[in-house]
Symmetry: C2
Subunit: 432 residues, 2 copies
């Protein structure tokens, strides 16, 4: 068990993962269980003090670069450490929201844009968490290796790095005194559990500002990592024994409206209730099978190879049921055709109708008989890229939010211009 013992005044580098829905998208609307897991693609936040009273927020992925004088901001909202932070209203008061929007908007901002909502979430959390009497300004830069707005939880990972950074910087929570090895990351002391609960709670508030009525599963996955089961009305729980899996993520870049897709499934469910209800039941059984599989793995009763083989079958089954719901798209079928030619299994993830697809990469104990050879992945990626898609070799089920204190030469500008490989080269994370 790792205990928490450090507060920080110096610069902070914080990262938190995106998420993919492994199973149960759309079915979740019909009270079936979805399984979401953390994604190897992450958001990174760098925070440092300034010597003046300027708050400078940069988030180049949404074209956000804004400075505020602390004296121009509204009065901070009262904060009490520990569990008491729950007394904050989950919704931002309307008059405060209008005041903050007036500080954010200028000629170059559209209303209700991703950057407006990101800036609003930041200012709200800042006012809630700033230490009374604080006089120093801040440089904050957020950079993501996640495609934004692709259903991969980029806003939740932004919310989690933001809430962690402000909670740590203003001394509300502490960070682990040492680096936790990745395998042990889910074995948390009560102290760490409480810390993460605070991070998650404040991230949820930021998500509410950004999304209105989020389910809470995205920020939970970004905070805790691993995988979560989520059932509407019942909330979420951790998936025991979830093991990190290699994944090829493909962004078709085909834009789609989640609301339209959800409505389409709704129309089908209304038009063919007796046909659609068992399809939703089958999806529930898929999420349950995934859960049991990892529970067996945790008890040492299922090998990694068995898990991969069955997860591939579950991917295929769930994708076909999503097709039956009418939410696939020719681009997603093309990804399936290409990867299948290379012996890999793919399903759409999220709302469908374009968006992203996930492909299992077999990676078992470096077995050349079972593992997907790098050459196969490279060939598939080449073909997918040639079709206009964007590929990411990554993983699911890795750790949640982490803090790095080992990059003293970094500053906000370094982060803002960092490449994906430079960001992923940071290895010494203190997982929260």
């Amino acid at each position: 068990m790792v205990s928490l013992n450090q507060t920080f005044d110096g610069p902070l580098l914080i990262s938190a993962p995106g998420k993919v829905i492994l199973f149960g998208e759309h079915a979740v609307v019909y009270k079936k269980t979805a399984v979401a897991a953390s994604l190897g693609l992450r958001s990174y936040l760098y925070l440092e003090n300034r010597n003046d009273d300027i708050i400078h927020l940069e988030f180049p992925d949404v074209d956000l670069n804004r400075k505020w004088k602390m004296s121009d901001l509204p009065h901070p909202l009262p904060y009490k450490a520990g569990h008491d932070d729950s007394h904050h209203p989950m919704d931002m008061p309307e008059d405060l929201k209008q005041h903050l929007l007036s500080l954010i908007n200028g000629d170059d901002f559209e209303n209700d844009s991703a950057r407006e909502r990101a800036a609003l979430a930041f200012l709200y959390l800042y006012l809630c968490l700033v230490k009374p009497g604080e006089s120093r300004g801040l440089n904050i830069c957020v950079k993501s290796t996640l495609p934004v707005g692709a259903g991969l939880g980029s806003s939740a990972s932004f919310a989690v790095v933001l809430s962690s950074a402000l909670l740590i910087h203003f001394g509300h929570i502490m960070v682990p005194k040492q680096v936790v090895v990745e395998e042990k990351v889910q074995e948390r002391s009560n102290e760490r559990e409480e810390t993460l609960a605070a991070v998650n709670r404040w991230a949820y508030k930021a998500e509410q500002v950004i999304h209105g009525n989020p389910s809470g599963v995205d920020n939970a996955v970004a905070s805790y990592g691993g995988a979560k089961r989520y059932t509407k009305g019942e909330g979420f729980s951790s998936l025991q024994g979830f093991t990190s899996l290699r994944l090829l993520l493909t962004n078709t870049k085909v834009p789609r409206s989640t609301a339209v897709l959800v409505a389409g499934v709704g129309a089908k469910a209304k038009s063919f209730p007796l046909i659609m209800a068992p399809i939703m039941d089958s999806v529930q059984a898929i999420s349950d099978e995934c859960t049991h599989l990892f529970e067996k793995h945790a008890r040492g009763e299922a090998s990694k190879q068995e898990i991969l083989e069955r997860i591939e079958e579950l991917f295929d089954l769930n994708h076909c049921l999503l097709m039956a719901m009418g939410v696939s798209h020719p681009s997603l079928e093309q990804v399936r055709t290409i990867t299948s030619k290379h012996g890999m299994t793919t399903k759409l993830t999220g709302a469908g109708g374009g968006g992203c697809a996930v492909t299992i990469v077999r990676d078992v104990l470096n077995s050349k008989f079972v593992d997907t050879p790098q050459e196969t992945i490279d060939n598939a990626v080449k073909e997918l890229t040639a079709s206009g898609f964007e590929c990411y070799e990554t993983s699911v089920g890795g750790p949640g939010v982490g803090v790095s204190l080992l990059e003293p030469e970094w500053n906000a500008a370094t982060l803002c211009s960092a490449t994906r490989s430079e960001l992923e080269a940071v290895k010494e994370w203190r997982w929260m």
Copy 2:
């Protein structure tokens, strides 16, 4: 009502349809209901007396061209007309089978080939149905517009034309005295029902010789036409109100083994019982929805347009569930991609893994706003043909077995060399 009043000694031209499974393939193994319908592609049989004692059977589609001297054949099996024909054993006695095989096989015959089985079925039915004391030989030619061995019931349509021809020729049943218009074809007198029941019963015996243990649905569809519901253990029933639908049939020509595909679904059902069971339930609901739809149509509560729109949705749903069962194939997905580009909906039919796909052609009251324009069909066919597939513009739900007496200039050789369009030009059928 049409009554039966003619027996025939002269030449006969008989035709019977193939079948397509519209819904429920594979699920039928799990005691779910399948819906099969007659196909516009048919088998044609021409029969005429000879002046010698030679039985000459030609079936060029399976490379069968064989002559037997009547005196070389075993003694006929006793036949009593009417219901009594049911006293015949459904399985051919093994010693008779071996005797007949010795008459069939020569240097150019492989064991257990399609032509061996067709010849065996013919000889068995001939011995069961030949009139005692008959001395004249026969010329029989069978020609099909159906692709053979593609899961379209070619053997059942062969069995039905064979049993009808022999039953009529030897005076066991009579044919209608006039041509029945196609719309009235399902309104049968008791007399016609009994005649068709005899045709179907004897066709089933031929199917048993050819297939071992057939479900009986293929020969029932080939005998009665229209559409049938079939549930294992419960037998089959007619689908009330079924209306003839235009269809584009595509043969991918990808060979597959039905047994291997059925075993694959079985393995999945065993490996993921809780996921697969609701998928089968959903297929049951699809077959039921199709049944209700046509019942509504029969009551005047559903327009042809409504039927077509919902059948398209059911096609898509059932295909996706068959994909989930693992029985689609890249060639079938290619047919779906091409036809979908032209705004048409396709599902695989039969065992899958290649084989055939069916595409709905919208054909409603010559409405140029709703109907699929011929140009669209032509373009889709062009693209499908360029991909190496074989297309047939045809229909489902048409009449069953029929007799034509109006082509006096025909003979067995004419039929054997007839083209599909020459065969389809014969219009004056007396539907049985």
